[in-house]
Symmetry: C2
Subunit: 313 residues, 2 copies
DNA sequence: CCCGAGAACATGTTCTGTT
DNA sequence: CAACAGAACATGTTCTCGG
């Protein structure tokens, strides 16, 4: 085995689960489960009122009507201490966080208006800086002021929002409220473990979400060659609408070839794939030799099940 | 321990590593390592010639000048058997793959032009269908015609493209060309394992890429509460430009507060974080009780190192 | 070298949460 | 309740690759 340095959980940005049923509309949808997920839990997603969702509504504003100091577009407020539009705001943050350094090939004299702002990122970024955007306003660590109490609140909230499991009927589990309760006794002020636990909780949600969604890895078979090379499916977890009940009802949009199979979820493959998705993110793997990797891989799965048989290594 | 169903690797879409040094420009950048990565390996990224990169160049075309059958925008070709623009093409594919079902709140009579096409996804999708887009043209499994020889070719290519390791100086390993060689003897036509190995290869690349990039988890600490809830950093692996050598040289864009720390990479935390990233994607985790999760978590890290000491569970 | 499918990449919008 | 930072979500563009 090559040398493996095992990391310790480090902390990260913020997720935020969208689980409040306060959507703009209240159409009388009475499907089977009817959970309280905002996004697409029901089979059908009612389009929001126009004036949102990328539509081209002018959207009258009563505000001072600021202009973006960078591109001149309508500003959505003061971002990083500079009046700016959403685009420039996000562009600036991303560039800084990724520490990107663009180089203009026109000597930094590119025009920047609402439509040409994407023409040269070097000039756009420079103009962001010149316009007064302050790098220090970017919260690289959003938790600088995240107190333990706040963290606990979040966990508490998560516990009471996971009401959409509706599958493994073990919600009769009485210990949930306690065993899940991130006991302060155990973790105390030691944020480390406390945070770790919450990570696990979050993973839970991500996983559950994806597992109960329309995501059906069976249809994405492309050889293991590519399987692990693609981005983790967890990244798109929220992209796939949840299905209240499997097998899903036929999709009137879908034609024959897909209908017959897409109505069912291949749980075996699904769970299989999800498991692999997990592996995708490990680190020390890259330092292993091929033989070690294979061994480790087989070991990982063989440890729990009969994958070893398949791998026969 | 709760019941755990261990999945088996399933296959996925396609990644494609952009590792050809055929960028439009050939500026004489002579940094230390100078790998052959297309994207941002060098510290600075020269902006491409205008007329690309989201700029608003008309980009003269000599083609028949098709129009998108859905939104009327300029079509980029015939997609899914229907002349369409890139937007509608991608929109259609995504909707189908995710099996989304939009519902119009205007009875399906929304106008659809180039600018209003995002106003109602239900109508947009319906128009895609009406325009003739064929669901069957979507390659849910891109590998339907992926032969073993092709797969081998890919692997071969990968092997010869990993020239940017430049860190763990074990390239003196003579067995690489053979032990990495995905011996057909072992896997034969059994795509399964064959693919699996390639997944591992891919993970390698993802990991290496992220590890050598500007990605510095130290700055993203936000408590474990949120750590695992965020999308896997692997998903954005290519977003962070590679750094040829750590510590990185100061970024003239970055101001003081960030400069002092961002110039150095905290390898310990980095590796730690990457390891956790890996965990993020596992599946059966969601079915475990809290205590089990904690135990498993500690076990995972304790298995390799002294994390158990920290967790003290 | 063209085509077209899709991954990767880049952007922009909306939602959530904290102050 | 407004502001605003950032995550999540949605969309559009460019690159890769096999036919
Ligand atoms: Zn702007
Ligand atoms: Zn420029
Ligand atoms: Zn179109
Ligand atoms: Zn409509």
């Amino acid at each position: 085995m090559a040398n493996i340095t095992i990391p310790m959980p480090v902390l990260f940005p913020e997720p935020s689960i969208s689980i409040n049923g306060s959507e703009s509309d209240s159409d009388g949808r009475s499907e089977s489960v009817t959970p309280k997920l905002t996004l697409p839990f029901t089979e059908n997603e009612i389009e929001p009122q126009p004036s949102s969702l990328y539509s081209n509504q002018p959207a009258q504003l009563k505000k001072p009507l600021l202009k973006c100091s960078v591109c001149g577009d309508r500003a959505t407020g003061v971002h990083y201490q500079t009046p700016s539009c959403n685009g420039c705001k996000t562009f600036f943050r991303r560039a800084v966080i990724a520490q990107r350094k663009f180089v203009c090939r026109n000597g930094g004299k590119c025009a920047l208006d609402k439509h040409g702002r994407c023409g040269c990122r070097a000039c756009r970024f420079q103009k962001c800086v010149d316009a007064g955007m302050n790098v220090n306003a970017i919260q690289h660590s959003p938790s600088v002021n995240l107190t333990l109490s706040i963290a606990r609140k979040r966990v508490f909230r998560h516990q009471h929002q996971k009401g959409y499991e509706s599958e493994s009927a073990d919600e009769s589990q009485p210990s949930t409220s306690e065993s899940n309760g991130i006991s302060p006794m155990i973790f105390g002020e030691h944020d480390e473990l406390f945070k770790t636990i919450n990570i696990v909780l979050r993973i839970d949600e991500k996983h559950t979400r994806l597992r109960l969604s329309t995501w059906n890895p069976y249809f994405e078979q492309d050889g293991l060659v590519n399987f692990l090379s693609s981005d983790s499916a967890y990244g798109n977890a929220t992209r796939y609408p949840l299905v209240s009940q499997w097998p899903a009802r036929p999709n009137h949009y879908v034609e024959k070839r897909l209908m017959k199979a897409e109505e069912i979820k291949f749980w075996y493959f699904c769970d299989l794939a999800l498991s692999v998705e997990y592996l995708k993110t490990f680190e020390f793997y890259s330092q292993l030799h091929m033989a070690d990797k294979v061994s480790l891989f087989c070991l990982d799965f063989g440890k729990t099940n009969d994958f070893k048989t398949i791998a026969c290594l």
